[in-house]
């Protein structure tokens, strides 16, 4: 065991861990952050989208030196069948504002920058150090961590678990149950190099404007999942993911799905002549509100992906990570300032503040979506095909009168799902959405 003692140990140097460590270090707490990867971000994979609002609450002037790719001015939401898509686009010059709302980023660079800020704020950051388990006193309060280094135990008054979706330390220490395959998705992504001018002309962009494409449908072979394509400065991030239990059932491979997505007639031209630079895979929490574990206890609390803080509907994760990290940091700092101890009773404030914020409010709103999506595979194969067929029927000018076309479209829907099916799908979706 080492002599040094810290106020707080943060396990993990991803967005939630950095947010927490930064907040606390800035308020003068003695923070030790332990990251198992070679450098902060080495174990992280994300599309990636940065939600400026969440970061502004932590580092208001981050735009000055944070590595940002493009600011998003256009969102395309596509429902794909095998050859086509039906989609909704929103593009607005309003997003060309002084402080843009969303950016595409490259995680490795961003995490490195964020970690630099954490160090500047005064925290001690150690990489290549894996926390094996929590150390508790005889009353069960967490008082430190054991790491894989020689003499690797370090003591602290408080431990923040920002260890990501696998949550190994939490699980080993009995704080949370094992990850269930139906509450987590396996996603894979590639980065494709494409010269800036090509990206700009292909996506109709100027300067640092960017596009986000989110897609679902036949590309996931009837499994619950989504795909994405983001424009960076000189590369494109493209990826796809599905619920792990669905992969287990179907026997499909994530890489096979990605290849299919990349070869979809709507996607392939966007990637033409690009050079694949890297390939990565990662797990994403998808359990939503109902899968959130116990978030705090005597001497510990959980932030970020480890707490299942991901909004599956809107694909928001990093903003919830940063927000939970910040709120955790503020809660802990306040307790320290008031000389109060880190008991579960006092830390409950953390959860209360999250309930009052968009974090829990949004997760609660969509708490029934995971089970709905799981039951409604139609959303991923039947409806995309029906919509596509409907759109084509409607748009083809072939001498058939419009009333007949309408009848054909409605008939197709009815034949496929029957009125009872259509109604119950609509009802269930509305209920889950609320």
């Amino acid at each position: 065991m080492v002599d040094a003692k810290f106020d707080v140990i943060v396990v993990g140097a991803g967005p939630s861990g950095n947010a927490a460590a930064y907040t606390m270090a800035k308020q003068g707490l003695k923070v030790l952050q332990l990251e198992r990867g070679e450098y902060p971000g080495s174990k992280n994979v994300q599309g990636a989208i940065l939600y400026a609002n969440a970061l502004e609450q932590i580092i208001p002037d981050f735009r000055e030196d944070a590595p940002l790719e493009r600011h998003v001015i256009e969102q395309r939401s596509w429902m794909l069948d095998d050859t086509s898509y039906v989609g909704m686009h929103y593009r607005s010059d309003d997003f060309n504002e002084e402080k843009p709302n969303r950016y595409t980023i490259i995680r490795a660079q961003f995490d490195k920058w964020f970690s630099g800020k954490v160090r500047e704020a005064g925290a001690t950051v150690l990489c290549e150090t894996t926390v094996k388990e929590l150390i508790r006193n005889d009353r069960g309060r967490v008082i430190g961590v054991k790491t894989d280094r020689e003499d690797g135990a370090v003591m602290a008054d408080m431990v923040v678990l920002a260890e990501g979706v696998n949550g190994l330390v939490g699980h080993r220490s009995g704080l949370r149950s094992e990850l269930k395959p139906d509450t987590v998705a396996l996603a894979v992504k590639e980065m494709h190099f494409l010269p800036r001018e090509v990206i700009e002309s292909r996506f109709n962009l100027k300067g640092d404007e960017g596009v986000v494409i989110e897609a679902m449908g036949a590309v996931t072979s009837g499994m619950t999942g989504t795909a994405f394509l983001y424009t960076n400065q000189e590369s494109i991030s493209v990826g796809i993911g599905c619920i792990v239990s669905d992969f287990q059932e179907s026997g499909e491979t994530p890489y096979g799905l990605l290849e299919r997505f990349k070869n979809h007639p709507a996607i392939r031209p966007l990637l033409e002549d690009s050079e694949v630079k890297e390939y990565a895979a990662h797990l994403i929490p998808e359990g939503g509100y109902k899968a959130i574990p116990q978030l705090y206890g005597d001497g510990w609390l959980i932030v970020g992906d480890a707490g299942q803080f991901v909004n599956a509907v809107h694909r928001e994760g990093s903003n919830l990570a940063m927000t939970t990290g910040r709120v955790a940091g503020e809660t802990i700092a306040r307790l320290k300032r008031r000389g109060e101890d880190f008991s579960a009773e006092n830390l409950a404030e953390y959860r209360r503040r999250l309930e009052d914020s968009f974090v829990m409010k949004d997760l609660k709103k969509y708490r029934n979506i995971p089970s709905f999506l799981h039951k409604s595979k139609h959303l991923f194969d039947t409806y995309p095909r029906l919509l596509s067929k409907a759109a084509q029927t409607w748009l083809r000018v072939d001498g058939v009168d419009k009333v007949s076309k309408e009848k054909e479209i409605i008939g197709a829907f009815r034949k496929s799902r029957k009125w009872s099916g259509l109604l119950s799908d609509a009802f269930n979706l509305a209920r889950a959405w609320r």
């Binding site: 135990a153 002549d273 690009s274």
Partner: protein, 287 residues
Amino acid sequence: MSQMHIVVCIKQVPDSAQIRVHPVTNTIMRQGVPTIINPCDLFSLEEALRWRDRLGGEVTVLTMGPPTAAESLRKALAFGADRAVLLTDRYFAGSDTLATSFALTQAIAKVSDMWGAPDLVFCGKQTIDGDTAQVGPGIASRLGLNQLTYVASIASIDQEAGTIEAERRAEGGVQVLSTRLPALVTMLEGSNEMRRGSMASALAAATAEIVTWSAADAGIEDLTKCGLRGSPTVVKKVFAPLARSEKAEQIAAARRPTDEIAAELMETIFARQPAIESDLMRFASGQ
């Protein structure tokens, strides 16, 4: 008997596995490529730490590089080195191996003034970005150190007698050499296994002060021997080799039984290089 002083020269290099060439402009894309301590240097560092642990003394780690090279020095401190020195100055930009060995030699002389002359100087066998293996021999010849390269193991160091005995890999065998200290040693890859720094070393390293020297601080007066000006070699062109004009003949493998693909591959090999088929037949019948 005075304590041993061992100097280890390391280099921070880009993790070459991650470097790519831009498909259009042909320039090197180093964006976001993580930097690491040159892998060969770790074997030398570990060897230095082991002998320090055994005989007592200090290990000083030295590197010449940009300001970010301090990261690598901290990693070296986290492994247990006692002191780290960063030699950084814009005058060193563009140094080839001759200019590098000049600068490092001057720095080692300054290190000697401050903390005692080294008994041993370790260098990495070669770097993954330059691969020349010249800086070690360069330092040795400038400092008049006896040189032992490609060392598989150091058998003994006798401080009193001032000698070192080591096994050196040569063509077709191993030379067992003995020479006098001070000496310069480069270790073979795989000659030892790097330790994991203890928590105490790692924490100390996180807050340690890295001694930082400019060319002037290191006592370098003749700047014409540094950087581009001091480099006899000039890189005139950097490029990616073109793909062969005739792409590989692909044997379709999707949805076919593996043994069918294997059979087709074997036939293709024989068809393209009949000599191989006859060689193999002869080999098989000879067995």
